[in-house]
């Protein structure tokens, strides 16, 4: 590839914000276009070098093209802002979860609201953990769920921890699946199948079923309080998508 073209494409690649698997395709398409255009300009009598430079001039600045492509591929300038909110929420959850674990001495009697919140914190932290892991390893959400299930199994049996019934599994599983895929229609089938199997297995256990029934309503309330950054993030994303569709009109 001619150096100016490869440098230009590298600039576009650096600025491009779209799913990782989409990037090589976008870059290959752009590269083909630039080469086609340069060939056509050479046919009009321009030299090899001048034709490539002219093709790049016509394409405009790399950062501008990268921004347009990112927006067309579903990225939004609001995403970095949401990431900040998410990071703050994560920090908060981890902090409170740590305090909760440290304070959970057997002689301490929690008030019901505090207990619900603390349980919610734990679920939110697990959900966040699952989400973060899902984002990192992408389509391996099912593996995270499976590994977590094994850890839970051994921990529960060896230390007698009963505060992690099915709802904790669900938190990690849903988090990891959502983290691995942005768009719901393309959620990994393996994740659903393996996660579903793990949940059924947990449901089959009397202890976890009892624990779920007793704890779930409290946990949902507590989770809603503690996971408010998450809920805000999800609402904002939904509103943003809606707004962009309205701005775009009935079609592109």
């Amino acid at each position: 590839m001619h150096p100016p073209i490869s440098e230009y494409l590298a600039r576009v690649r650096r600025g491009l914000r779209c799913p990782l698997e989409r990037r090589p395709e976008v870059m290959e398409e752009l590269c083909g276009h630039l080469l086609d255009r340069a060939d056509a300009l050479m046919g009009q009598g321009l030299s090899h070098t001048e034709a490539r430079r002219q093709a790049l001039r016509e394409m405009g600045p790399g950062w501008s093209l990268a921004l347009r492509l990112s927006l067309a591929n579903g990225w939004s300038p609001l995403v970095p802002l949401f990431r900040q909110i998410w990071a703050m929420g994560l920090g908060f959850q981890v902090l409170v979860a740590a305090v909760m674990v440290l304070d959970r001495a057997p002689e301490v009697q929690f008030m019901p609201v505090w207990e619900a919140c603390s349980y919610g914190v734990l679920l939110a932290a697990l959900f966040t953990f699952g989400f973060a892991m899902g984002r990192i390893v992408r389509s391996w959400a099912w593996a995270i769920t499976l590994i977590f299930a094994l850890i839970m199994l051994f921990t529960r049996e060896s230390q007698g921890i009963e505060a992690l019934p099915l709802s904790a599994m669900i938190a990690v599983f849903v988090g990891s699946v959502l983290g691995s895929r942005r768009e719901l229609p393309s959620l990994g089938r393996p994740a659903w199948v393996s996660g579903g199997a793990v949940m059924l297995w947990w449901l089959g256990s009397d202890e976890s079923a009892r624990g779920l029934l007793v704890r779930l309503p409290d946990a949902v309330v507590g989770w809603a309080i503690v996971a408010s950054p998450w809920l805000l993030w999800l609402c904002a994303r939904g509103l943003e998508q809606l707004g962009r569709r309205r701005l775009a009109g009935p079609a592109a």
Binding site: G32, D36, A40, M59, S64, L69, A251
Partner: protein
């Protein structure tokens, strides 16, 4: 040959692209060449607007892309989906209606100012 106003074209770029693809699958560069040829060079699609518009249409399911080997190079060919075809028909009808309205508004005055 005077060129079409850039802003006017940008607002209708998706329609232009879909209209060209309604004749058969094509790839990015060939689409802008076709647009120029059809209009005798009056309509020139800005190159940095082409792919964002194509990707947006693809994201909305109005066109579909697939890689093919052509001319010694791998090219991403786009074709109009059934949903895109319906959308194009709707846009055609709207455009005709709009153009007719504009023509009515912009017709030559019946009376010259000197007659008033």
């Amino acid at each position: 040959m005077p060129r079409t106003d850039d802003k006017l074209l940008e607002g209708n770029l998706a329609t232009v692209l879909m209209a060209i693809l309604s004749d058969g699958p094509s790839y990015g560069y060939a689409i802008i060449v076709e647009a120029e040829e059809r209009t005798g060079g009056r309509l020139r699609v800005r190159q940095n607007a082409l792919y964002p518009a194509l990707h947006k249409l693809e994201g909305r399911g109005l066109i579909a892309g697939e890689w093919r080997q052509a001319g010694g190079r791998r090219r991403r060919y786009y074709r109009l989906t059934p949903r895109g075809r319906k959308e194009l028909e709707r846009r055609r009808a709207r455009w005709r209606e709009f153009a007719a309205s504009m023509n009515d508004v912009l017709r030559e005055p019946r009376y010259a100012p000197a007659d008033l």
